[in-house]
């Protein structure tokens, strides 16, 4: 900058006629939407941690068979209700790597329960990348390699064994495959129904809107669980586990769409009057194109946040249904099916580890809630705290 004699200041840089004069003062205004959302979301620590936790949980699903030392329905008749085993590193003060003490069961005929005694003289070193029961790595590669397993003559029940001597730790990994997917399938069904029905009602209005509104009101006024129960009781008992799994997820989604449809509808009602919609209509765009290209992107982010908040309800729903015996059935493993074993007070008192599957349920549900909260807070990047 140069100071001229008459107290005027002039930029000494040469004048450029092509320079952008409309560049915003604030670079943030030019950043793409997702970047702004990400910057804001990053500050929501709990949401960020939850997102990472959920990402890890879902990424682990295809590798469940590899991480789990046992296959889900592998019974171990000598270790019914075995207590959780610790993994030790030091044997008599000497480091020998991860190992467990083998356990043998003796029947306590006075209290009618199994008593396990550890053999502290013969530490059994864990083996890595060892052979065990066959499973499908990534869902299609048949293999019998496991990340770790117990050597011959010992067992590794990190979180104990259930009434048939099945490893709770392994079953939780396998159970996660179903329990976590239920929410995804359910939310897909709910999304498709909610967006299309809510969108149609909001866009066309009139009698369609009236009818859809009445349907939404009726569905929202009925308690969900009894309806879920009734619908799942209608699933024929001769269907295979996979079919049952899909139909249960769809049932969970079928009753979830009204809330979403209502939100979509009210958004549509307000957006429909905007100029850009008018313009698109004048250019001859079809309703389906306007809905998809012009309306939906406007509040897609809100929909994602509300999805994050409905997934946990479905996970809890599946757990409840399976717990009551009307959801997924025995050869299938889900967290609800596992908890079915912990149904009575006796197992909670004597074998508390059979209730461990409740921990992943609680953590996943909490994580979805925090993530949803975080997303909701950060989705409108132009608003200030």
């Amino acid at each position: 900058m140069t100071n001229l004699t008459d107290d005027h200041y002039v930029d000494s840089a040469p004048y450029d006629a092509n320079a952008e004069t409309s560049a915003p003062a604030h670079p943030d205004l030019d950043a793409p939407n997702w970047l702004l959302i990400w910057r804001k979301f990053r500050r929501h620590k709990l949401g960020l941690i939850s997102a990472v936790f959920l990402a890890i949980s879902y990424l682990m699903m295809p590798f469940a068979g590899f991480i789990a030392p046992y296959t889900p329905n592998e019974r171990n008749a000598d270790h019914l209700y075995a207590a959780p085993q610790m993994v030790h590193f030091f044997h008599e003060g000497k480091f020998i790597g991860p190992f467990v003490y083998p356990e043998t069961a003796t029947a306590d005929l006075e209290q009618f329960r199994w008593v396990y005694t550890s053999d502290y003289d013969h530490p059994a070193k864990l083996e890595f990348f060892c052979k065990g029961g066959t499973h499908y790595f990534l869902g299609f590669i048949k293999t019998d390699r496991h990340l770790f397993c117990a050597p011959e003559g010992a067992t590794v029940f990190l979180w104990g064994a259930d009434r048939l001597g099945r490893d709770v730790f392994s079953r939780i990994f396998y159970g996660g495959q179903l329990s976590l997917t239920v929410g995804l399938i359910g939310i897909t069904v709910s999304f498709v129904l909610g967006i299309s029905i809510g969108g149609i009602a909001g866009y066309f209005g009139g009698w369609i809107d009236w009818v859809v509104n009445r349907i939404i009101e009726v569905l929202r006024s009925i308690p969900e669980l009894p309806l879920w129960l009734a619908l799942s009781a209608a699933v024929p008992s001769h269907w295979g586990p996979v079919a049952v799994f899909f139909i249960i997820s769809i049932i969970l989604g079928l009753l979830d769409w009204p809330g979403l449809a209502r939100a979509v509808r009210s958004k549509f009602l307000s957006l429909r009057e905007e100029e850009f919609v008018r313009a698109a209509e004048m250019m001859g765009a079809k309703p389906s194109r306007i809905i998809r290209k012009h309306l939906l992107p406007n509040f897609a982010s809100h929909l994602i946040a509300s999805a994050m908040l409905s997934i946990p309800a479905m996970i809890l729903g599946e757990t409840a249904l399976s717990f009551l015996g009307l959801g997924l059935r025995a050869p299938a493993v889900s967290w609800g099916v596992m908890l079915n074993d912990a149904q009575n007070l006796a197992s909670i008192e004597i074998y508390p580890w059979t209730a461990i599957p409740m921990l992943p349920v609680i953590f996943v549900v909490l994580a979805f809630n925090f993530l949803g909260d975080g997303l909701r807070d950060s989705l409108d990047p132009y608003s200030h705290d």
Partner: protein, 342 residues
């Protein structure tokens, strides 16, 4: 009186909804292939008990299960004469439970009242917990009070109801000597009301109420907190403080009243989830409500019993929602002359 007009209008919409719900329930009950009686006939035939078949065929005609589906529905509801004239739900005949071989009304009789009792207790619990905690969390926001209540609330939201029930049951019995199972001590069952019986029922209600209400209370508390925080940041609250209005009064006098509105309106969302929870918890805790009966009926395709219970549960929700709508009108003068909740 616009309030009475509104109440009457609301009542009729509720009845209409109930009719639609009844059709939906009937449809769902008939979704599974076959029904209880056909299964029974098949079973009798395969075991060679031809004599029993005649009785079942009689039942089939008696309950007009041989009619087309739409007529079955009308007869069940009492809109259309069955073999014995009009005798459907409208006339107070709830049908026959094939599973228990008794009239439905006999099975659900006392359970209906206990169901209402459990749910009313749960609603009271939700309000009694959510109101003070929500206000406290907003008034002392970003302090340990706020964080603790949020944490407990989230935990309540995330823990599956039935597990919470089992654990509270176990620990409640172990440390507080709370009774286990049922809604009253066995010696009071079928006895007339007495002070001792009431006490027994109240003691048994503690854990179920807590379990059913926790998640609802958590959600309600969060909402009240958010609303109140919005309200507290408005200039008139600053003015009040600057004028020297005592802090408690500055919160209770106006901000709370404004924030309170959604609190009542929200009962429409709260009730279905509470009733869902009560069905589940009843099954786990063995309460003599309609929950366990519903589960048995659904598993054995006992359509009249299951249908009636589903309808009752839906009716309970609809009535609760209607009451809350009318209450909202009384509470908030601004809504009174405005349009209907659209």
């Amino acid at each position: 009186m616009p309030i009475i007009r509104f109440a009457v209008f609301r009542f009729f919409t509720m009845l209409m909804t109930l009719v639609v719900v009844s059709a939906l329930v009937f449809f769902i009950m008939n979704l599974p292939p076959g029904d209880y009686l056909s299964n029974l006939i098949a079973e009798l035939r395969s075991t060679g008990q031809e004599s029993g078949v005649a009785k079942v065929e009689f039942l089939r005609r008696e309950y007009s299960l041989d009619q087309p589906l739409w007529r079955q529905y009308l007869i069940w509801m009492g809109f259309y004469p069955g073999p014995h004239g009009f005798s459907g739900i409208l006339q107070g005949d709830f049908g026959w439970s094939f599973e228990f071989d008794k009239p439905v009304s006999e099975i659900v009789g006392s359970a209906l009242w206990l169901t209402v009792l459990v749910n009313v207790a749960a609603i009271l619990f939700v309000y009694m917990v959510a109101l003070p905690l929500g206000v406290l969390a907003a008034a002392r926001s970003k302090t340990w009070v706020d964080y603790t209540s949020a944490f407990v609330g989230y935990l309540g939201l995330a823990t599956p109801n039935f597990l919470l029930a089992l654990m509270l049951f176990y620990y409640g019995h172990k440390y507080l000597n709370l009774p286990i199972g049922g809604l009253m001590a066995p010696e009071f069952e079928g006895e007339p009301m007495s002070a001792a019986k009431v006490k027994s029922v109240l003691l048994h209600l503690i854990i179920p109420t807590f379990v059913i209400g926790t998640s609802g209370a958590a959600a309600m508390m969060q909402r009240l907190r958010a609303n109140l925080l919005d309200e507290l940041s408005k200039p008139y609250v600053d003015t009040a403080r600057a004028k020297g209005v005592p802090p408690v009064k500055a919160i209770l006098k106006y901000p709370l009243r404004v924030a309170f509105n959604p609190f009542v309106a929200d009962i429409g969302n709260l009730l279905p989830s509470l009733i869902s929870g009560s069905v589940l918890v009843s099954v786990v805790l063995g309460l003599q409500t309609i929950g366990p009966a519903l589960l048995t009926a659904l598993k054995s395709q006992d359509q009249f019993l299951a249908g009636f219970i589903l309808l009752f549960v839906a009716g309970l929700t609809l009535i609760g929602t209607m009451v809350s709508d009318v209450l909202l009108m009384l509470l908030d003068p601004r809504i009174r002359y405005g349009g209907r909740d659209r």
